[in-house]
Symmetry: C2
Subunit: 217 residues, 2 copies
């Protein structure tokens, strides 16, 4: 079997909102699935090393913001390729804090809901949290962003902590003019504008890393 | 919160292949997600009442066939709207039986893989099986069918045992000329061909029920 066949599983794109004693934070996941409709419950898979995992274990509370195709790649980069241990990930992301202290995004999301953990199960690298949905938005708008859309249209990558992360199979699609972001793996290869001609304050559209974080492949 | 916002979660469409002492069977699910990549593991959610649930509990073994946009709605109907307790669901569905006794589909699927259950967790209505992937196809082809595509293009419905099932919100979209399949909920309202004019051997494109199983709404 080739690992690449697993890219044929379909996912959405979600921001998980969490809190610790001092602040609110959020991360990006692709594995949210409804697992019961009486009551409404979801399963969410998070890497043991993620700061958000630590927060959910402590507080048993998180939100799910369903990203839409209009949610910018930069939001995904800010929340998906940094750790809430190191920085305030939400500083440049529009959001509101619910009464429970957890954040939901206001960045062109489709809808959001609040979840309370009722159970969990372990895998070697990830915990699957089972949670009951206890509140949520009254309406949905926009078109949900799929993981496929994120990869193909936004040209985003999976961070190493994602359950779906697979090492890049080959560099066959990279010619000598491709530049790769060392933070998130985004490949710049716009044939119309050589990388060298981008302005010095240009940043990676996915993770916001500076031009200097790119290496030629 | 409106339950309808949960329709904004993104899923794929999968056939789960199982076996009991006598025969192989299969059902349709939308909740398959990779939850670990070292080793490769997936989570699958199945209703307690499903025959496939019973088989997996007994044997700890199942396959996942990833349906493609070219997999016909009739295959989904045959596997999704009948019980393996009552009939041989695979009798009209092209498939092969693996050495382990579990079936994989040969109906324009993208790829397949074989899973061995290593853990499980309960919700009030569904069991989430955590399973290690132990074999699979060497290549993938076609475009994976999303749950959204199934609803919008194939106009399929969710059976009552699906974790994402929600009662139909209203009948506002049904005019006097709509006919509804009492087996699977498929709504026939082709403006060009009145239901009465369909040939007598016409069957529901989703579940294969005869014309007589339809009622006017």
């Amino acid at each position: 079997m080739k690992n690449e066949i697993l890219f044929n599983l379909t996912y959405g794109m979600y921001a998980i909102g969490v809190k610790d004693e001092k602040k609110a934070s959020a991360c990006i996941v692709n594995t949210v699935a409804q697992v019961c409709n009486d009551p409404n419950m979801v399963a969410v898979s998070l890497n043991h090393n993620n700061y958000s995992h630590e927060c959910i274990v402590k507080n048993g509370l998180f939100t799910v913001s369903v990203l839409s195709e209009d949610t910018s790649g930069a939001v995904i980069g800010a929340l998906g390729f940094n750790s809430g241990r190191d920085i305030d990930k939400l500083s440049n992301v529009r959001h509101k804090i619910l009464a429970e202290g957890v954040p939901v995004l206001k960045e062109n999301i489709c809808c959001w809901f609040l979840c309370r953990v009722v159970n969990s199960v372990e895998t070697p690298t990830h915990t699957i949290f089972i949670a009951e949905i206890c509140a949520g938005s009254d309406e949905a708008k926009g078109k949900p962003m799929t993981y496929d859309y994120y990869h193909k249209v936004i040209k985003g990558k999976a961070p190493k902590n994602a359950p779906t992360y697979q090492p890049e199979p080959t560099n066959d699609d990279l010619d000598g003019d491709s530049w790769v972001c060392t933070v998130c793996g985004y490949v710049y290869n716009d044939p119309d504008v050589p990388f060298e001609d981008l302005p010095e304050d240009w940043v990676c559209p996915i993770c916001g890393a500076p031009k200097s974080a790119f290496i030629r492949k």
